[in-house]
C-alpha cells in the first residue's frame, strides 16, 4: 500500500455514517494500521449533508483528507457525491462507489444518476453506481443496511485494501449484538469472495 489510504463517506443525516466510520477505523486497527477519522455532530447532522473522513496507513498525521486526495469516496446518496468532488482527482485515482439513491433536496431540481455520473467523470476514472438501498430493502427489509452492503461491495471490487474478515470482525465489535447477523448478511450480499 502507498503512504496512506484516504476514504470519504458522504450521505444524508440518519444514514448511519458515524457507525460506518467506526467500522472502517476498527477494521484498519485490526490490520495493524495507524488510523484517524474526522466527523461532525449536532446541527450539521440533522437531515443535512454528512461527510466523514477515514485515513489509515503506517503513520497518519491529518484527520482530514486533503483536497483531491481521496482514494475512495463512498456516497450513500448520489447527489451528495457531487459535493465530494472536492476530494477527488484523477491523479489520486479516486474511485467513487455510489448508492444509486436520490433523496430529494427541498426547492431543488432532482439531478439524475446519469447526469451525476457524467459530472463525476472529470474527477474519476472509476465511478460505480450500485442500487444498494434497493437491494438491502428487498432482501433484508432495512434500508439503513445499505452502507454496510457498500463496504462489502468495496471489498469485492478491491476498492480498499482491507480484508473482509477484518471488516466483519469490526462490525461485530461496533454494532449492537442483536444487529450483528443482519449487518453481516448485508455485508455478505456483495459476494466478495
Amino acid at each position: 500500500m502507498k503512504k496512506e489510504f484516504n476514504i470519504i463517506l458522504s450521505g444524508v443525516g440518519g444514514q448511519g455514517i458515524i457507525t460506518l466510520t467506526r467500522i472502517l477505523a476498527e477494521a484498519a486497527l485490526i490490520e495493524g494500521y495507524d488510523v484517524k477519522t474526522s466527523e461532525l455532530h449536532g446541527l450539521s447532522q440533522k437531515g443535512g449533508s454528512v461527510e466523514s473522513h477515514i485515513r489509515f496507513g503506517k503513520e497518519v498525521c491529518s484527520p482530514l483528507v486533503r483536497q483531491g486526495g481521496a482514494d475512495l469516496i463512498i456516497s450513500l446518496e448520489a447527489q451528495e457525491a457531487l459535493k465530494m468532488c472536492y476530494y477527488a482527482s484523477k491523479k489520486s485515482e479516486t474511485i467513487f462507489l455510489i448508492n444509486d439513491l436520490i433523496k430529494p433536496i427541498l426547492n431543488a431540481k432532482k439531478t439524475s444518476s446519469k447526469e451525476i455520473s457524467k459530472k463525476l467523470e472529470k474527477f474519476s476514472k472509476k465511478c460505480i453506481f450500485v442500487p444498494a438501498s434497493k437491494i438491502v430493502k428487498e432482501k433484508l427489509g432495512k434500508e439503513v443496511l445499505s452502507g454496510v452492503y457498500l463496504l462489502g461491495q468495496a471489498v469485492s471490487k478491491k476498492a480498499f485494501p482491507l480484508k473482509a474478515s477484518s471488516v466483519i470482525k469490526s462490525i461485530k465489535k461496533t454494532v449492537p449484538k442483536k444487529y450483528f447477523l443482519l449487518n453481516k448478511k448485508a455485508f455478505d450480499l456483495a459476494n466478495y469472495d
Binding site: K3, V12, G13, G14, T21, R22, A25, E26, L29, D34, V35, K36, T37, S38, E39, L40, H41, G42, L43, S44, Q45, K46, G47, G48, S49, V60, C61, S62, P63, L64, V65, R66, Q67, G68, G69, Q79, E80, L82, K83, C85, Y86, S89, K91, I105, L106, N107, A108, K109, T111, K119, K122, F123, K173, T174
Partner: protein
C-alpha cells in the same frame, strides 16, 4: 465505546474520539465529580459519563450530573474541588461565556482538588452557529492556564497532566479542543484506571474562598505569580512543548510554530512536500514557554505560525522576536485565513509559499450542487408547531424570535421563521426589548420561541423580567421533554438524574405560573385547531401582559414521558 473507555486492560489500544480521550484521562486521574451542560462539539464528554454511570459497569465514588446550565455546572464542580475532590467540568465554547462570571474570580481563589475545565471550540461554526469563538482569549482575560491537545491520545494524556498541575498549583486548568480534535478519532493507549477514593470535606478558609477587597487584590497578585511560576517550572520544561524534526539547519534558517490540530496539518504538509523544517509544537497556550520560543526563533530568518482563527500566537511571537531576533520575518495570517477552520491543503499551500516552492492541486472546476439544509426529523413535533404558526398568523408581519436548539432549524427552508437568533434565553430578552420599543401605531406582534432545556438554562430570568416590566410578547415553550439537538440529554423537566436516579420532574407550567404569567396554556400541537386558535387569541391580547403557550409533545427519539 463505553466498554473500551472503562477497560482495565492497561496497555491495550482503543479507538477513541478526542472527547472520549478526555473522559478516559479523567478516569485515569481518579476523577470523582463531573458536571456539564451538553453542547456540540463537547457533548460526548458528558454523554460518555452518563452512559457509564447508567451502565452495569458504573464507576464507584464518581458523581456525574447534567447541570441546568454551564455556570451552575462550573460552580458545582468548584464546590467539589473546594471539598478536595478531583473535578472535571465539560462544555462548549459558548458555555464558557455563560460560566465566565464565575470563572474569573475562581482563578483568584484557586482550587483544592484538581479541577479541569474541558472546552471545545468550533472553527468554521459547524455546530456552533452564533459566533466563531476562539476561547484561547480567556488565557489573557481570566489568566487561566490553557493546554491544547491535537489527538485523542493527547486529549487523554493532557487531561491527566492537567489534573496534576491543577492540584499542584491550586488553579483550574483548561483543556481546549476544537471540533477536529474533539470529534477526531484515533488510536489511544490505555493507561491504568485510578478509582478516586477521597472523602470530600470542606474546610473553612474564607481567606482563600471569599473574594472580597482588599484581599482580592492580593489574590490577583498571587494569581499572576502562580502563572509565572507555572511558566518557569512547568511550561518551559514540559515535553508537551516540543521541537519536531531537526532542530535548526544553518542553510534553511526556517522554522514553524504551531499547536492543536494545526500541528497535524503541518506534519501532513511536510510529508506531502517532502520537507524537513523544524516544528515547535506548543502544548501550552498559557503560560507560553517564552524561553523555549525565544531559543527556537533566535537563529531563524523566517518563521511560520500556523494557528486557527485569530493570530493570538503570532502576536506573541512578534512580541518575543522584538528582543531576541528583531529581523525575524514572521509569517502567519498573511498566508492562512483568520476566518473558518484550517484544512490540510491550506497548510500545504502556506508551507510551500513560505518555502518558496510551487505546489498546486490540479482539479477541474467543481460541479454545482444544491445545498441540502438541515431539517426537522420526519415526524418531529416541531413540524406541527411551525405549520400551525404559518396558518395562525401573517408570517410577513409577525416578528419571530429564535434561539438555540432544534427549533433553530425553522430558520432554514421551508419555514424561514426566525427573524433574530442569538444565544439561549435571548429570544425572550430581545423580544421584550422589541415589544417595549415598537410604536403602538405599528401594531407589530412578536412570538419568542424557547426550547424546554433552553428555558431552564436561561429563559426563566428573561421571562420574569418581561412580566415584571409589563411587556407583552407571546412566548412559545417548545417542550419536547429532552435536550434534543445535542443528543437527547435529560434536563430538570425530566425524571432522571445524570446518575440514573429517579427525581422530581420540575414542571415548566408551574414555574411559568410562579413567574407571574396569567395567560398560559399547555397544548399538544397534534391538536392543530386548538393550537392555531390559541396562537391567534394570545397574539391579539389587547392588554399589556405576557402570554405563554407550552407546546408539549416529546421528541420522537425518547421514550414517551
Amino acid at each position: 465505546m463505553i466498554k473500551e473507555i472503562i477497560s482495565n486492560k492497561t496497555g491495550e489500544k482503543a479507538i477513541l474520539l478526542g472527547n472520549e480521550g478526555i473522559v478516559r484521562g479523567a478516569i485515569e486521574a481518579g476523577v470523582q465529580f463531573v458536571s456539564t451542560y451538553p453542547g456540540t462539539p463537547a457533548s460526548e464528554i458528558g454523554d460518555t459519563f452518563f452512559k457509564i454511570q447508567n451502565s452495569k459497569s458504573k464507576i464507584k465514588n464518581l458523581y456525574f450530573e447534567f447541570s441546568i446550565n454551564e455556570k451552575v455546572a462550573m460552580e458545582a464542580g468548584a464546590g467539589a474541588s473546594f471539598s478536595g475532590l478531583r473535578t472535571l467540568v465539560g462544555m462548549k465554547n459558548f458555555g464558557l461565556n455563560v460560566a465566565s462570571d464565575f470563572l474569573m474570580p475562581l482563578l483568584y481563589s484557586g482550587v483544592k482538588g484538581g479541577m479541569v475545565i474541558a472546552i471545545a471550540d468550533d472553527p468554521n461554526c459547524w455546530s456552533s452557529a452564533q459566533s466563531e469563538e476562539n476561547t484561547r482569549g480567556f488565557g489573557s482575560l481570566a489568566h487561566i492556564p490553557i493546554i491544547e491537545p491535537s489527538t485523542p491520545q493527547e486529549c487523554k494524556d493532557f487531561t491527566k497532566l492537567a489534573f496534576e498541575l491543577s492540584e499542584k498549583f491550586k488553579i483550574p486548568i483548561m483543556v481546549r479542543e476544537t471540533t477536529r480534535v474533539a470529534l477526531q478519532s484515533g488510536i489511544v493507549n490505555l493507561g491504568k484506571i485510578v478509582n478516586g477514593n477521597r472523602k470530600g470535606k470542606f474546610i473553612k478558609d474564607p481567606h482563600q474562598f471569599s473574594t472580597m477587597p482588599p484581599r482580592v487584590l492580593e489574590m490577583k497578585k498571587e494569581l499572576l505569580e502562580k502563572i509565572e511560576k507555572i511558566r518557569k517550572d512547568i511550561s518551559e520544561k514540559s515535553p508537551i512543548n516540543k521541537v519536531y524534526g531537526k532542530e535548526f539547519s544553518a542553510s534553511s534558517k526556517m522554522g514553524i510554530i504551531t499547536s492543536s490540530v494545526s500541528f497535524l496539518y503541518v506534519m501532513e504538509a511536510l510529508k506531502e512536500l517532502n520537507l524537513n523544517i523544524p516544528v515547535l509544537k506548543l502544548g501550552f497556550f498559557n503560560p507560553l514557554p517564552e524561553g523555549k520560543i525565544k531559543s527556537f526563533i533566535k537563529p531563524l530568518k523566517k518563521v511560520l505560525v500556523v494557528e486557527e482563527l485569530e493570530p493570538y500566537l503570532e502576536k506573541e511571537i512578534m512580541r518575543l522576536a522584538k528582543d531576541i531576533n528583531p529581523k525575524l520575518q514572521i509569517f502567519g495570517k498573511n498566508l492562512l485565513p483568520e476566518v473558518g477552520e484550517l484544512r490540510p491543503e491550506y497548510v500545504i499551500k502556506a508551507v510551500s509559499k513560505f518555502k518558496n516552492i510551487k505546489y498546486q492541486i490540479f482539479q477541474p472546476k467543481l460541479p454545482v450542487f444544491s445545498k441540502r439544509f438541515p431539517q426537522f426529523c420526519p415526524g418531529c413535533p416541531y413540524w406541527l408547531i411551525f405549520r400551525a404558526i404559518e396558518k395562525a398568523v401573517d408570517v410577513k408581519k409577525v416578528i419571530f424570535g429564535g434561539e438555540i436548539g432544534c427549533y433553530m432549524l425553522a430558520f432554514c427552508p421551508p419555514f424561514h421563521l426566525q427573524d433574530y437568533l442569538f444565544c439561549m434565553g435571548s429570544s425572550i430578552g430581545v423580544g421584550h426589548g422589541i415589544k417595549k420599543s415598537v410604536s403602538p401605531n405599528n401594531k407589530q406582534k412578536l412570538i419568542s420561541f424557547v426550547g424546554d432545556s433552553s428555558f431552564f438554562h436561561s429563559g426563566i430570568p428573561a421571562m420574569i423580567n418581561a412580566v415584571h416590566n409589563k411587556s407583552n410578547p407571546l412566548i412559545i415553550v417548545m417542550d419536547n421533554s429532552t435536550t434534543a439537538m445535542t443528543g437527547h440529554q435529560p434536563h430538570p423537566g425530566t425524571d432522571k438524574t445524570g446518575m440514573g436516579e429517579e427525581t422530581r420532574k420540575i414542571k415548566i407550567e408551574e414555574i411559568i405560573r410562579a413567574c407571574g404569567v396569567e395567560k398560559i396554556k399547555t397544548i399538544d400541537p397534534i391538536n392543530q385547531k386548538e393550537f392555531i386558535k390559541t396562537v391567534k387569541t394570545f397574539l391579539n391580547n389587547k392588554n399589556d401582559k405576557v402570554s405563554v403557550i407550552i407546546a408539549k409533545r416529546p421528541c420522537l427519539f425518547i421514550n414517551k414521558v
